[in-house]
């Protein structure tokens, strides 16, 4: 490579680096993990003087790390801790060259193990590292932690509406949405809408047969949750957080790349996901665990949260239900949500 060209590239990379802040009280850094053909960015924001890092496992599959930097709740967490927003393999702005057949839950748990090691290497062996997984991120975190050697890499587990058992999820989700639809119809609320929801989910009385069904069922559950939020069952999302959702998804990320990556990866992973059941292995999780759920979560019903709380194999565990939240309590009740996390980490 000619020297002038190297110099130009170096200057441009320096330009990207110049956008970062290395002030430990207000850290803004990006590091990439390269592993098995994938380059995965981890965006780190917040207060690193606390020596406490929260590693966010985004939902989906097909979400993005920065899609979880959502205003009020993340501002409150970043004031106290450093928060790592990681784009998993094949998702977010991750780049890579590998076969789709390498996209498996196990591969991503191995990526996660290396990311934990990298964070410890970069920010010091004395830091505390907590995993925080939402929805699919809860599946991933659980799959990571049931491999006992991985528990040495983290100091605690925050499970937010994590889907650790998909067959059980479907067994509870369909009747739950169905019963809420019946309740709303009996209250005289928009029978046309709720009958459409009932008809849509009625096709899934048995276990799902294909990953695409998962996307459809999630869509129906999300529609039902949106209806309940508009009717005041759950707290509205503040304008500030709505704006942040928009800017995080459309400006911090490249939405075209994120959606293309996400669509492909979710279609590949969903076929494995719908058969994934980790309930029998929950007892092997011995790290302190905080389980957070929305009372009106129709995407991952709170029955899974109750199971996780009961079966995780540590006495040091806590289960909190947010009474005015759906699948994303960080958006419905951000102050209570972040307060619960800050208090719990403070106790550990």
């Amino acid at each position: 490579m000619p020297a002038a060209f190297r110099l130009l590239i170096f200057a441009l990379i320096l330009g990207v680096s110049a956008c970062q802040s290395h002030d430990p009280e207000n850290l803004e850094e990006v590091i990439y993990l390269r592993k098995d053909g994938a380059d995965m960015p981890a965006y780190i924001y917040g207060n690193a003087t606390s020596k406490t890092f929260i590693l966010v496992l985004h939902g989906g599959p097909g979400g993005s790390g920065l899609g979880y930097r959502l205003g009020t709740y993340s501002d409150l967490l970043e004031e106290q801790f450093a928060v790592v927003y990681w784009d998993q393999r094949g998702q977010g702005m991750s780049q890579g060259q590998y076969n789709s057949s390498d996209l498996m839950i196990q591969t991503i748990t191995e990526d996660l193990a290396e990311l934990c090691l990298l964070i410890h290497q970069e920010y010091g062996p004395d830091i505390r590292l907590f995993l925080m997984g939402h929805s699919w991120g809860g599946t991933l975190g659980t799959a990571f932690l049931v491999q006992e050697e991985n528990q040495l890499l983290v100091d605690g587990w925050i499970d937010i509406a994590g889907a650790h058992d998909f067959p059980e999820l479907f067994r509870t989700q369909v009747p739950l949405v169905d019963s809420i639809a019946d309740e709303q119809i009996s209250l005289g609320n928009d029978a046309v809408f709720w009958n459409q929801v009932k008809t849509g989910i009625g096709e899934f009385q048995e276990d799902l047969s294909a990953g695409n069904d998962l996307i459809f069922l999630n869509q129906k559950a999300n529609e039902a949750e949106t209806y309940l939020r508009n009717r005041g069952y759950t707290d509205p999302i503040s304008d500030k957080d709505q704006n942040k959702v928009f800017t995080s998804n459309y400006f911090a990320n490249n939405p075209l790349v994120v959606s293309t990556n996400g669509l492909h990866t979710s279609l590949v992973l969903n076929d494995e996901l719908i058969k994934t059941s980790l309930t029998d292995q929950l007892a092997s999780i011995k790290v302190p665990s905080l389980i957070l759920w929305g009372a009106y979560d129709l995407v991952v019903p709170s029955k899974l949260g109750e199971d996780a709380f009961e079966l995780i194999g540590t006495e040091d565990k806590e289960y909190i239900i947010f009474s005015a939240s759906g699948h994303s309590p960080m958006l419905n009740e951000p102050v209570l949500f972040s307060g619960a996390i800050i208090d719990w980490i403070g106790e550990h």
Partner: protein, 191 residues
């Protein structure tokens, strides 16, 4: 990879055969351009390109001019949070021009896309993470463009143009990497 090379060869052969039959206008021997090259519009970038007509047809003076061009470009953009991208494209364009007014241009081609990623770490066999210098990914691309170009009577050798360019880069994450650009700049005719 083989299919891509075959595609590039076809493009080059096609361009060559058109060159041989070119009826080049004495007043337009080609142009160079410089443009804002915004990845998804707002990630800033810059693109330079060279454009050479290979066939120009005009039924009579003052009538619509239809022409084929070969176009080579080098552009770079900056995605502030995640990477820098470099795009080297070779395209075949078709232009329909209303003289002294404006033209519409569409094209397709193939090229090369390189990303440069900051702070990339990889674990070595001893289990220590090491920084990877000049880390990034190489991709082959297929591209398409559509644009308009307007003439300035005071400066006949300079036109402004607005293009939408889209590329599909592969292989990427077992699928492809989409790129879309707003290109907006000036084209300067060679005298």
């Amino acid at each position: 990879m083989f299919d891509m090379l075959r595609f590039l060869t076809i493009i080059m052969l096609l361009s060559g055969s058109l060159s041989m039959s070119a009826q080049e206008s004495p007043s337009y021997r080609g142009s160079w351009s410089v443009a804002y090259y915004g990845n998804i519009i707002w990630n800033p970038g810059l693109r330079f390109s060279l454009d050479k007509p290979v066939q120009i047809r005009q039924s009579a003076p003052g009538k619509i001019v239809r022409s084929w061009h070969i176009n080579a470009s080098l552009g770079g953009y900056w995605d502030p949070l995640s990477h820098i991208g470099l795009v080297n494209d070779y395209q075949l364009h078709y232009r329909i021009m209303a003289p002294q007014f404006m033209s519409i241009r569409g094209g397709f081609g193939a090229g090369y896309f390189r990303t440069f990623l900051p702070n990339v770490y990889e674990f070595n066999e001893q289990g220590v993470a090491e920084k990877v210098p000049f880390a990034g990914r190489n991709y082959l691309t297929f591209s398409m463009m559509l644009g308009i170009e307007s003439f300035n009577k005071k400066h006949p050798n300079r036109t402004w143009f607005l293009n939408i360019d889209s590329n599909i880069a592969f292989p990427s994450n077992g699928f492809f990497y989409p790129l879309i650009f707003l290109e907006m700049g000036y084209r300067f005719s060679f005298k």
